[in-house]
Point group: C2
Chain length 264, copies 2
DNA sequence: AAGTGGTCTAGACCACTAG
DNA sequence: TAGTGGTCTAGACCACTTC
C-alpha cells in the first residue's frame, strides 16, 4: 500500500472460544475507527485521496470486512470519509459546493440559496486578545491573522465577516494567497494546510448596527443585525478559526434544520 | 406478537442464484425500514413501547437479522427508535430532558444550560392566516390554536413564544390540558396525540422590540431581539407546529453545533 | 476482466436484563 | 435461565468503475 497504514497495536481476536490476545475494553470497530481517524488527522492520507480498500484494511488489521465497514460507516456518517462505489473510500475534500452550503446558513427570506460574493476589506496580523485566545484555545498574545470580508448576496452587501486565525496553523498565509483562493476558505484550509473542518460551534444573538459595520452593510445605525459567533473545529475538536459574522436580516435569514436524518 | 406487525409485501429474497420473487428496486433494509416507519407513524407501536425483537422481525420479514439491524440502525440514528441492551428496541419517547435540550437552543451567554420556566399568557382558537397556513401546510381559514408563552431563565423573562397548532391534529386541546402538562410541549404532543416530533426547521433573524413583546420581556422598544421562526415536523415531514420565538439575547444566546458526529 | 464498495446471509459468542 | 440487543466472522452475489 502506498502510504504506510497505522499499525494495529493488537493481535487479531480469535474467532471462537480461544482467549483473546489482549482483553479489548472497547469494540474492535472502534479500535479500527481510532486508527483510521489518526491516519486522516495526521495527513497520512490527504484530502481527496483514497484510503486502502476494505479488503486491504481487513487484512491489515486482522479483522473481518464487516468490522472494517462498521468503522468506515461511522467516519462516513461523521463526514470525514466518503464512499464511491467501484472506486474506493476517500478522505473528504471540501471542494465544490459541498461545504459551501454545509457551513453557510444564510439564505433568502424565501429560503432560496445564493452564492455569496466575497470582498476582502482588510487583512492584518496581530496578537490574540483574551476573547480570541479563549475561543481558539491558544495563549493570549499568540500571533493571529485577522481578516474582514464583506459578503454580498444578489448584489447587495449582507454580511460582514471578521475572521481570526491562529497564525501558527497557517504558516505563510498572505493576503495574496487568501485572495487567490478559488473556493471557500475551508477549502483553502484543507488544500494548503491540511486542515479539515469537521464541525462548527455557533452562538447567535441580535444586536444593533453601528460604526464601520453599519456603513459596510449600508444600513442605518440602530438597525437590527444578527451576530453569529462561530468557532470551526477539526479533528479532536481542535479550534482552527473564529468568525464573527454580522448579518443584515432584512431580506435574508439564517436557516437551520434540526433533527437527525432527512425525510422518511 | 402483540400488535400486528406491518405485513411485508414481498417474499423473502432467495439467497443465491434463484430469481427473486419480486425485482426489488431498493435494498431490503430500506424496505424493512419503510415498514417499520409506517408502523411507528401509524401508532401501531406507541411511544415508549418496544417493537418486536430483532429475531422476531427477521422471521416476520423473512430476512436475516443483519438486515433488520441495518434498518433499525437507521431509525435509531434518526431518533425514531432507541435500543436498550437486554431489554429491546423502543419507540422514542420525548420524556425527561432528552427533547428539552434537543430542540431548545437558548443558553446563557457563557454556554450554561438552564431550564426555562413557562408562563402561558394567552390561549385562543382561530382560523389560520396565510403565513400560518403555508407554514403548517393546511388550508387558509382552517381551525388553529394559538398560544403565547413567556419563558424565563434564571428568573428573568427572556423568550416570548407564539405557538400555532392545527386544531385538527390536537382534538380537545384546552388551556387546562395545555397547562397541566408536566413536561415539554412535545411530550404532550406525543403522550396525548401520538405525534412524534422528529425534526425542526428554523429561520432566524434580528428585529427590534416593540409592543406587547417588548413589555413582556421588559426591554425598551427598539432593543434588538432574535426572532426564531420554527416549524416542527413529524414523520414524512408533516408540519405539526409553528412557533415564532423572540429572544432577548442581552444575556443569552442561541447555541448550535453543526457537523455530524461528536468529538472523535 | 479485475477491483471496488453495496447488500445480504447465517451463525457464533458476549453483555445486559429480568423472572 | 431465557431473552434481548451488541459484536464479530466468513463468505456469497450484485452494481459500479476502470482498464
Amino acid at each position: 500500500m502506498l502510504p504506510a497504514m497505522p499499525s494495529p497495536n493488537r493481535a487479531a481476536r480469535s474467532p471462537a472460544g480461544a482467549a483473546p490476545a489482549l482483553p479489548a475494553d472497547r469494540p474492535l470497530y472502534e479500535e479500527v475507527r481510532a486508527h483510521l481517524t489518526e491516519g486522516i488527522a495526521e495527513g497520512r492520507w490527504r484530502a481527496g485521496e483514497a484510503i486502502p480498500s476494505e479488503a486491504a484494511l481487513a487484512a491489515h488489521f486482522g479483522v473481518a470486512i464487516g468490522t472494517i465497514r462498521k468503522a468506515v460507516d461511522s467516519l462516513v456518517a461523521q463526514g470525514a470519509l466518503a464512499r464511491r462505489q467501484g472506486k474506493g473510500t476517500f478522505v473528504t475534500a471540501h471542494d465544490g459546493r459541498r461545504l459551501m452550503f454545509h457551513f453557510f446558513h444564510v439564505v433568502g427570506a424565501d429560503g432560496a440559496k445564493a452564492y455569496p460574493e466575497v470582498r476582502t476589506i482588510s487583512f492584518e496580523r496581530g496578537r490574540a486578545e483574551a476573547a480570541e485566545a479563549a475561543a481558539l484555545a491558544i495563549a493570549r498574545d499568540e500571533r493571529v491573522v485577522r481578516i474582514r470580508n464583506l459578503l454580498s448576496l444578489d448584489g447587495r452587501p449582507v454580511i460582514v465577516d471578521d475572521i481570526t486565525l491562529p497564525a501558527a496553523l497557517f504558516p505563510g498565509l498572505t493576503e495574496r494567497i487568501f485572495a487567490a483562493r478559488d473556493n471557500t476558505i475551508y477549502h483553502l484550509f484543507q488544500s494548503r494546510y491540511g486542515i479539515n473542518v469537521l464541525r462548527t460551534d455557533e452562538r447567535l444573538r441580535a444586536q444593533l448596527a453601528a460604526g464601520a459595520v453599519a456603513t459596510l452593510l449600508g444600513v442605518a445605525p440602530g438597525s437590527p443585525l444578527l451576530e453569529i459567533r462561530r468557532v470551526a473545529l477539526t479533528f479532536r475538536d481542535r479550534p482552527v478559526e473564529l468568525r464573527v459574522s454580522r448579518v443584515n436580516t432584512a431580506a435574508h435569514v439564517y436557516h437551520n434544520t434540526f433533527g437527525k436524518g432527512e425525510a422518511i
